[in-house]
Symmetry: C2
């Protein structure tokens, strides 16, 4: 089978730029404010074949260029006789080419100024695929990039092929002298408006919430239409927002919403709006239900949130800002393991985030986000065992590591330079001097980089030594014996303690038992230390608590915090939730009345907490060759669930003190209470248990 | 007046890539085979204003983004009171924006995946121009790029605006059972074909020569058309070659030709073809005629050749290969001084050749071509005195110098690495080890780089020291006392002498009088040393001979060599001419029967030789603030000429031993025989002379 092929990583860079240019707000576009590296525009593809019989091939391409068919010849006398010598004939792209038997080579040179240069070669035996080599006329020739989506010459790799689902509004009501269309759930959709004969002007006010849609002045997405005409100014710019398919049918660009309000119209007018929902139909490889309906609802809404935010790439929020953020994506990689276990979206996101070398800026301008990116490579391998991908991306990892190591102080601590954003979280961190939490991430990055090298058979010692030295210095400079915790900064003298660095320290296993105990007591369970307010960092806080066995507390927090959003009518989880915030302000953020994203990937972490800790499903060795299942039976009266374990699945049901477990692949171990049981493939294991759990 | 603005240098990189993708051959495209760096796709433009009264502005842009209007505010208490603090409001692109009086800033953020991000801001006092700052979200903010061509919002900087001239064929004749259209001169034109009712199939066979057009099998440019239909395969690829304007009218892409042959058609059919010639209408700022009609014809054909090869950029050949070559362009910079003295095409070409940093490859992959590029910066300044341009391009010069200095051996000699093309000329040079001619160019590059630094007030000492050291080593290693000449290589032991290094040595002033004498005797006037066969290197050979006063010989060579092409029917000058080549093979090159370019910029050097040496017009100080005119009266019975001297012109007439000279600007000195005369502005100087010349 033929594949479309391109320069490895450039498909993702191309679509990444498209994605980062996709944010719309109140009639204008807002391209992401960081440097975006470009894909290559000019390539040579080639592959060698030994044809047994004549064959007709055709090269489809995006761009302009030619095909060069070469045949091996015995070198002429004036050449070294051991040198390769090929005859060559050039042909146009897109036409039949008759290839003759023998040792031959097919080369295609393609330049594409506007888009992604790529080719698809189809013949009986000559087809383009990942075994072809590609050259950018400067650096070393490498293996071509490809993916499973583009396998037919008629396809266009510059168009991502979404699944499309046309939705009619669930409910249309007359409100405030206008029509409110409620599609019953949040969608990312192109809107199709059909104008009645006598309606000329239509204003679309979109809302993730009903309140937003009805707020015609401040709603985030809004468009004014005149039947049959482009907008007031016409021209290029207007076309970016949509087009008239016919006099009376307007088709908008992709937007995220649940509600659309059209002021000054009534039901009688006959105005119709439908939504053409575009999404990637990831397989549903997990399920979870238990005796507690609130938890079931939290699971359901988390999955809905996560699926909406997963497309070509892992996005942060589907209305705002539709950009690709490394910190948000990092958590999505983990959640993804417990939903559809899709490798492709991980690879696409990792490649789009990194862009091309040289590194000229931190990913999303954020220091910590560059480090999450490095760490994600090791995690991706643990999930998939895909060393081919590591091999491909390895040079980019090293260039990122070098970029990080260019900004270390004499203690090996990483600091922010002008233009670097030292973020960690929306929280009151003492950022004077170097910041402890950043050092934790750097230490973890050294470990990840060393591991990646080992996997590829390259010596990782250098990074391990740097890790040891850094870990020691972190203790020396940031550990406060008196407070029994890590402080943000040792420079300011304020010796301020926040949860963040301490969470990382325990999570990454940088603390001994006493230090852990101390951090739990003085920080994690200490209400005097500022609470985490973002679901983003709640992810790490609850993970560390779960990993320490504080299941009651984690369960309680899930019910209060995520449940709290449900009580506010959330049908997807939000970017931020402050329980004490009055309802009328609950959608505001960044000084914008509707600035808060109501469908935000990092809101979906309960899936991870439940799958990884309450159900205890995790890989022990890469790609789940061996894996562990360790359900917290004490937390549930009953539950039933399925989770991916690599290419296979594990199923559990628990009821009336009886646990049934079955995996369709070998390598599994069940841990219940203090006991361990081998899981044989396709063999149901039944355990009648005397209640036990690791609850502290 | 408003200008369209972009990232400095990126307009030229964008159009440079377009140009280098423009080569067509036998139904396919042939993008240049070197790495082409990309323009930036994502920018922020801004400028600060102090508005006295309210003003409405509009921002036109290519790409998507927004406008941000900011007003200076007193900082809030929590900020340092000396920090800048601005309120901000975002607006769509392309719509009216009302700006209020006061200290304010206009920012525009534009992303453009497919093309060049650029803006044009129009208001009463707020207009976009070179004073605006532009930022690529990574490197330092710089002054915006612009040029005089794009000053209206309706314009599109991605479309270069050519002058257009519709030409009917001068002659249409029936030959070989087909129709031959002769347009009387070579043109770069879109061809418009009007199909008669009953003609369905038309094959266009183009030719720079009559022979090529009539050779339906091997002609270089050929297209088959079916009335009313795209080509056999239809689709994207076909559209690149042209389009049907109506059922019966086809409009081709731009092609270079004088003849078009349509086989199997007769005059009666009524088939019509016209040519829409596209060119840049550079001013005609020079003229030359003398008593010798052959020289006049050579001048005329040289100018025709040069004008055809000068468009957005200086091209090498207009049929083949339409690419931008640094070595060819370098000679065009000099010829340009004696034709239209256009600064803009020099700047465009210099910027397009260099591309963006980092340097990843030599310009056109050729070692010597990177060095010509560096040297051209000093020459450009000598011609124009334009230090603003040097300031803008300076960082790119340094990165190029660093790239060159990365490949020096222990003697400071530059060598070719794998992938580097060590060219110099189509000649039999001994390229084992380092090559002498390349070292001459490196020495010259050090001098140029030092000079550029001095002009910008930066210390150039480092480069001057490198120059001295290198010059010494060149003598030590490459000067052969016995042969009294420079040898190509000291490594091979062959001690082979070619003209090239010796020409550079004298031309660059690296020889003392004895060495010069020796080189003249042993190389330049020694017929046993291989003759130069390309007009390309004839440029340097004849220049050095002229500079030494061998005017008879130079004149003779011009008449034989360029005159020889005229005798072969040339109406433009060729890429290569071998007087002994039989007529039927005279158009072949690179193993292609019509591979030779018949209109090639480097063929136009007689203009430079006449202007610079026979008429002796040259700048003494930058921008011709002071200049010299030194006609070789002994070579002519009579002549009349005009040449640019910076912004001004100098006119001369010589007849019956009386020389009249007049310049419209001060600073000129006339040298005739042994005497010097001040040239006052607009005052005619008349000299009745006793024959004298510097002829040796």
């Amino acid at each position: 089978m033929a594949n479309w092929i391109w320069y490895p990583g450039d498909f993702e860079i191309y679509h990444g730029m498209k994605q980062n240019y996709d944010r719309e707000e109140r009639g204008f576009f807002w391209p992401a404010y960081w440097h975006m590296s470009d894909w290559r525009h000019h390539l040579r593809f080639r592959a060698v074949f030994c044809l047994e019989r004549q064959e007709v091939i055709r090269v489809a391409a995006k761009g302009r260029g030619y095909v060069n068919v070469k045949y091996r010849q015995t070198p002429p006398p004036w050449m070294k006789q051991d040198e390769e010598y090929w005859s060559e004939t050039k042909y146009p792209i897109g036409k039949d080419i008759v290839c003759q038997p023998g040792d031959m080579m097919v080369e295609a040179v393609v330049g594409n100024m506007e888009g992604l240069p790529c080719i698809c070669v189809t013949g009986d035996t000559i087809v383009s695929d990942g075994t072809w080599l590609v050259w950018d006329f400067a650096s070393e020739e490498v293996s071509a990039g490809w993916n499973g989506m583009y396998v037919r010459p008629e396809q266009n790799p510059m168009e991502f092929e979404y699944t499309s689902q046309v939705l009619q509004p669930k409910e249309v009501g007359e409100v405030n002298g206008g029509l409110l269309f409620d599609f019953g759930r949040e969608v990312t959709a192109e809107t199709v408006i059909t104008f009645p004969e006598d309606v000329r002007d239509v204003t679309l006010c979109y809302g993730e919430s009903r309140q937003e849609a009805l707020d015609t002045e401040f709603c985030y997405l809004k468009q004014e239409l005149k039947a049959g005409q482009p907008g007031p100014d016409g021209g290029e710019m207007e076309e970016l927002f949509g087009r008239f398919e016919t006099e009376g049918t307007y088709h908008t660009r992709l937007r995220a919403f649940r509600y659309i309000f059209v002021p000054g119209t009534e039901a009688a007018s006959g105005l119709q709006i439908r939504a053409d929902h575009k999404f990637v139909d990831f397989p549903r490889r997990s399920s979870f239900t238990c005796g507690d309906e609130r938890i079931n609802k939290i699971w359901e809404v988390s999955e809905e949130t996560f699926r909406l935010a997963s497309g070509i790439f892992f996005l942060d929020g589907i209305k705002r800002d539709r950009w690709i953020w490394s910190g948000d994506a990092y958590q999505s990689y983990f959640i993804n393991r417990y939903v559809s276990f899709d490798k492709e979206i991980c690879k696409r996101t990792i490649l789009a985030l990194k862009g091309n070398d040289p590194v000229v800026q931190h990913i999303n301008t954020i220091l910590d986000y560059s480090m999450y990116w490095v760490i994600s490579l090791e995690d991706y391998f643990e999930m998939t065992g895909d060393d081919a991908f590591l091999k491909m991306i390895y040079p980019k990892m090293e260039s990122m590591m070098n970029y990080l190591m260019e900004q270390l102080d004499e203690n090996g601590f990483i600091y922010g330079r002008p233009g670097d954003w030292v973020y960690i979280d929306w929280a009151d961190l003492d950022k004077e001097g170097t910041l402890c939490a950043e050092q934790m991430l750097l230490a973890r990055s050294y470990q990840a980089a060393a591991r990646v090298r080992e996997i590829l058979g390259i010596d990782g010692q250098e990074y391990l030594e740097r890790f040891q030295k850094l870990k020691k210095n972190i203790c020396t400079y940031f550990w406060d014996e008196e407070k029994g915790a890590y402080i943000d900064s040792y420079v300011s003298g304020r010796r301020h303690v926040t949860r963040h660095a301490n969470i990382f320290a325990v999570l990454f296993g940088y603390t001994d038992d006493d230090e852990t105990e101390s951090i739990v007591k003085n920080v994690l369970l200490n209400d005097e230390v500022d609470a985490i307010t973002t679901p983003y960092f709640k992810f790490y806080e609850l993970e560390v608590l779960a990993s320490l066995g504080y299941f009651d507390r984690v369960m309680e927090t899930m019910k209060d915090y995520w449940g709290g959003m449900l009580d506010r009518g959330a049908d997807t989880f939000w970017e931020e939730f402050k329980p004490d915030q009055p309802e009328e302000e609950q959608y505001s953020m960044y000084g914008d009345k509707y600035g808060k994203s109501l469908c935000h990937a990092w809101g979906a972490s309960p899936i991870y907490l439940i799958g990884r800790y309450f159900m205890g499903v995790r890989p022990v060795t890469p790609a789940y060759a061996s894996f562990e299942v360790k359900p917290q039976l004490g937390q549930f009266e009953r539950f039933e669930c399925t989770f991916p374990v690599g290419e296979g699945s594990v199923w559990m049901r628990y009821e009336n003190g009886i646990l049934k477990v079955k995996a369709d692949r070998p390598g599994g171990v069940l841990k219940a209470g203090q006991d361990s049981y081998e899981l044989e493939a396709d063999k149901e294991l039944v355990i009648v248990e005397e209640r036990g759990s690791d609850q502290r």
